[in-house]
């Protein structure tokens, strides 16, 4: 066929009707001309017409042949199916709407979950600016397999210059920074990066320039910064932003470049606003703070950089690692103090975690897979529902189908047509699902963003992968809910179907398939509810967990003078002034401060050893506190004493307070640790500092979902921290008012001090991210559970209504024979009860088995797999809903009038 013919035929698909009419006219004229010719020969007009019709052959056949040539016959019949399906769906809007809603909900849930998974785990970073993502370079230890550390700047430069493995090797770190805009200071994490950071990721600046190599020198004092596109957008996309100053940690920096809109940095989920070169590190550090860690300096002992690079083309990860071994050995010889046992490790980077050690995403993927599996279960239930609905509804179409079969339509054709109907439903539902899921996923991300302390940027807009998932879900759903009913309906039992009413015996026999499907739905719903219930228990336990100290009447305020550029001296003075002022404020029972606050996102650990002990170092949390911390927070002193006011100030007080957990681990149980010496050690075991234990307190939990951990408390005088959280104890009734008083007190001391957080301890606990994640997970499972329950209830109702309708004659007969209404109801309920019981038992078994499997794989430790309360609640919920759903149709059956029911059709 020539291209011209192809083209005309394709157009013919759409203009078929118009051409058909034209062709009819042509045929008619042909006929008339023939008749005229015959009449001219002398034959009578009617005879002429009759002969003409015979001679010219079947008009219908001609039309068919014409149509077959005019378009593509197979596509033509498909289009016909589609038009027919659309008409059938339009005819019953109630059913169509319900079906679209149910299916849309099921597909939408799956798509929403997948969108988030796609955004976090699958989407190429930075829109795919790099063909091959960066791999991570890690500093391991070949004597200890699990020990990793960050790199120092001189190390990074050495590797970059001497290795033959990377086309680009970048280094990054971050520093907590205060950015002051319009008099307000807020906290961000400025990203410290090497000068090739943007070039290595194919990210050209949209304005200005990236960093110069000389700005990377840690001694350069380069007060320059690159800002993100979002930052630029917040400043109105002003063309003059490049060259303008921004204030970081109280110092003036100059904006030299603006990153592209799609650039997110090296992590898929976190967003960065400000990048600075290594040469800015010194400027951002507070002056004269002893022991403050600057991640980039010329000192090889300052190890704070994370490295990543793009491998040379064709080089595999294992080959790259092998090629770096000679370099590691050279380092070991040249710098035995730092690199004696160093092993350079190259690994693919994780998408969800970033740190000094290589991580894989298997755990995250497993968790994601779990959630998707649950969402798929919900979709499955929805499909079963639809299948039942279709079966019930199509009872009426039996006659139509029987007639079509009798007229010679093939069974495959009928099945195809029913499938097309199903596909149309799925298509509409899929489009709706795409919309629902996009909105839902966006809302979820927004909520998480509001609650998270780190800046999150996740793009959950649908891309090709998401659309593919929607289409796949729609197609699979269609097959599940359409194929079965279609196959059944097209079975050629012509005579039975063509008879107007079904026989009495049919009711019981035919109902096994819908009944099984409903039982399956109930089983899946029970599983979902059991899971939801188990997680709800975990969440409730976490929320109600006693942290070990009272929460009422406690207020906290987080202040970091470093963010406005205070050096150590000024910062220390400012913090002490604020504390003094707070202690004097009327309404304050007691006040103190601490470097770490429970339920926060940060923690600090320390290794230590008891004096005289040969055992391995013990790790515990390390908290710098002021005096009267424990009385403010509400913890009793079990033994010894609290820190004194002078120890809060003096730099030479080598004392510490331990909690009972730490005392146990350092000195053994039932030993009084007061007076004993503890050595604080570095990772190699060398002693950093030695302190004497002066007091013991009870241990507390720092996290809503974890147990209590060991803590070591050291006084503020000796170990200075810039960013401390003030704790204030007030009368619980005055919490709201005292929050305001706190703010004013801090402002009164120094109004430049940025207050990052000011809230009650209770609010802080409620907002802690661990709790939030647990609640989010619980809410998701609960939502799925409820959706599953709603779907299966609808399914039960639909089935019962259908069955009652089919058994109308039988019921009418029974009533006429003297059965009471109650007996009828009981009869119907009894049949339904078996299905419900079977489903509940099966579901409970499935749930228990699945939880057992997950527990063995270590995924769900806190979840109790056999909690009787949860199983009981799930069984009760389903029992109640199924009974109710069965009862309503049964009640309608009660009102069946035998005279009407027994009337012949």
């Amino acid at each position: 066929m020539s291209p011209r013919a192809w083209w005309l035929r394709t157009i013919g698909l759409f203009t078929g009707r118009r051409h058909g009419a034209r062709f009819d006219a042509e045929l008619e004229s042909h006929l008339q001309l023939h008749i005229e010719e015959q009449v001219a020969r002398g034959i009578a007009p009617e005879e002429a017409r009759r002969q003409a019709l015979i001679a010219l052959g079947g008009v219908q056949a001609a039309r068919e042949a014409y149509r077959d040539r005019g378009g593509f016959p197979s596509i033509d019949s498909l289009l016909q199916d589609i038009r027919f399906a659309a008409r059938m769906l339009r005819k019953s809007p109630g059913f169509t709407l319900t079906a679209v809603l149910i299916l849309g909900l099921g597909i939408g849930a799956n798509t929403a979950v997948f969108s988030i998974i796609n955004a976090v785990m699958l989407r190429p970073l930075n829109g795919g600016s790099l063909e091959r993502p960066l791999v991570g370079l890690y500093s391991g230890d070949h004597t200890r397999p699990d020990r990793y550390r960050a790199f120092s700047y001189p190390e990074y430069v050495d590797i970059r210059e001497r290795s033959n493995v990377f086309t680009h090797l970048i280094a990054e770190s971050s520093m907590r920074t205060g950015i002051t805009e319009a008099g307000q200071t807020r906290r961000i994490d400025a990203q410290l990066v090497s000068s090739n950071f943007f070039a290595a990721q194919n990210a050209p600046m949209v304005a200005g320039r990236a960093f110069l190599p000389r700005e990377e020198d840690p001694l350069a004092d380069a007060a320059v910064a690159v800002v993100s596109y979002a930052f630029w957008r917040r400043h109105g996309l002003a063309s003059t932003l490049v060259g303008q100053p921004i204030v970081l940690n109280g110092r003036q920096f100059t904006v030299v470049g603006i990153a592209p809109e799609w650039f997110q940095g090296t992590m898929p989920v976190m967003s960065a606003d400000v990048w600075v070169p290594f040469g800015a590190a010194r400027l951002l550090a507070p002056a004269d703070q002893r022991g403050f860690f600057v991640p980039a300096s010329m000192d090889r002992s300052a190890q704070g950089l994370l490295l990543a690079g793009s491998l040379q083309p064709g080089l595999s990860v294992t080959d790259a690692e092998a090629r770096l071994q000679p370099l590691a050995r050279a380092f070991a010889t040249a710098y035995p103090e730092f690199n004696a046992t160093q092993q350079l490790v190259v690994r693919e980077r994780s998408r969800t975690a970033r740190g000094t050690r290589p991580r894989t995403d298997t755990e995250s993927l497993a968790g994601a897979g779990l959630v998707m599996a649950i969402a798929s279960l919900v979709l499955f239930v929805a499909c079963l529902n639809l299948a039942n609905m279709l079966l019930a509804r199509s009872g009426a179409r039996r006659q139509e189908i029987a007639v079509r079969l009798a007229l010679g339509c093939s069974r495959a054709r009928i099945v195809r047509q029913l499938l097309v109907e199903g596909l149309m439903l799925s298509a509409v539902a899929g489009a709706a699902a795409l919309l629902f899921s996009w909105l839902g996923a966006r809302q979820f991300v927004e909520t998480m963003r509001g609650l998270s302390e780190i800046a999150i940027a996740v793009d959950v807009s649908p891309d090709v992968r998401v659309v593919v998932v929607v289409v796949a879900a729609a197609v699979v759903s269609t097959l599940i809910f359409s194929l079965g009913p279609a196959w059944r309906l097209s079975r050629p039992q012509l005579t039975a179907a063509m008879k107007p009413s079904s026989s009495l015996a049919d009711g019981a026999r035919r109902a096994w398939l819908p009944g099984t499907m409903v039982a399956a739905q109930i089983a899946v719903s029970v599983t979902l509810l059991v899971w939801a219930g188990a997680f709800v228990r975990v969440g409730a336990r976490a929320a109600a967990a006693d942290p070990g100290f009272p929460l009422e009447g406690r207020l906290i305020a987080q202040v970091d003078p470093r963010l406005v550029g205070y050096d150590a001296t000024r910062g220390r003075a400012a913090m002490r002034s604020v504390l003094a002022r707070l202690r004097e404020t009327p309404g304050v029972v007691d006040a103190s401060f601490a470097s770490i606050v429970p339920f926060g996102a940060e923690s600090e650990g320390r290794a230590m050893r008891a004096d005289g002990s040969k055992a391995a170092p013990v790790f515990s949390r390390n908290v710098v506190i002021g005096s009267r911390y424990f009385s403010t927070v509400g913890l009793p002193i079990i033994a010894g004493r609290d820190f004194s006011a002078s120890e809060e100030v003096r730099t030479d007080a080598a004392v510490a307070i331990v909690d009972d957990r730490l005392a146990n681990r350092l000195f053994g149980p039932n030993t009084n640790p007061v007076g004993r010496i503890v050595h604080l050690v570095d990772p190699e075991g060398g002693v950093d500092d030695s302190v004497q234990v002066v007091g013991v307190v009870p241990s507390v939990r720092d996290d809503a979902t974890e147990g209590p951990v060991a803590h070591l408390y050291v006084p503020f005088g000796r170990t200075f921290r810039m960013d401390m959280t003030f704790h204030v104890r007030v009368d619980p009734a005055s919490e709201a008012r005292m929050l305001d008083e706190m703010r004013q007190a801090i402002r009164a001391v120094d109004d430049r001090l940025p207050i990052q957080m000011l809230r009650t301890m209770t609010a802080h606990r409620d907002n802690s991210s661990a709790l939030v994640w647990t609640i989010a997970g619980t809410a998701t499972f609960a939502a799925f559970g409820v959706i599953g329950l709603a779907l299966s209830t609808a399914g039960v109702y639909g089935l019962r209504a259908y069955l009652v309708a089919r058994r109308t004659r039988e019921i009418g007969l029974r009533v006429a024979l003297g059965a009471s209404r109650q007996q009828i109801v009981r009869l119907l309920l009894r049949d339904g009860a078996w299905i419900a019981v079977a489903g509940i038992v099966a579901g409970a078994g499935m749930a228990a088995a699945l939880i057992r499997v997950l527990q063995q794989s270590g995924e769900l430790d806190e979840v109790n797999g056999l909690d009787p309360l949860v199983y009981g609640a799930a069984a009760l919920a389903l029992g109640l809903t199924t009974t109710l759903a069965s009862y309503l149709p049964a009640r309608r059956a009660m009102r069946i009038d035998p005279a009407i029911a027994l009337r012949p059709e």
Binding site: S2, A25, E26, S29, L33, E36, A65, R69
Partner: protein, 114 residues
């Protein structure tokens, strides 16, 4: 009696249509069918089902063009005429047909061995 339609038959029918239009000028479907029957000495009978698919195919391939007109008896009918492409096709087809007949003819010629 019409013979069963086959691809070869359809191809020759198409040629007959083109030749008819070439000889007779623009003609309507009925006229073409009638003319073919006459030319074949009434050994072929052409009905709706054969002529119209052929006309449609020729029109799709661009060898003929159809337009509404009025017949001698003042009846509205669709007239077809040969296009330039169609004329060229006819010339080529005539040559091909002559060659085909010649070759096949050799097989059926009795007595000659060359």
């Amino acid at each position: 009696m019409g013979r069963k339609t086959s691809d070869v038959w359809q191809g020759t029918l198409a040629l007959m249509v083109l030749k008819t239009l070439d000889t007779m000028g623009p003609l309507h479907g009925f006229g073409i069918a009638r003319r073919i029957e006459q030319t074949s000495g009434d050994r072929l009978s052409v009905n709706y089902g054969t002529i119209y698919p052929a006309l449609l195919k020729l029109e799709q391939e661009g060898f003929i063009a159809g337009d509404w007109g009025v017949s001698e008896t003042n009846r509205k009918a669709r007239y077809y005429k040969l296009t330039r492409t169609g004329r060229k096709r006819l010339e080529n087809a005539a040559a091909e047909w002559a060659e085909a007949t010649d070759i096949v003819g050799r097989f059926f010629a009795t007595g000659d061995r060359s």
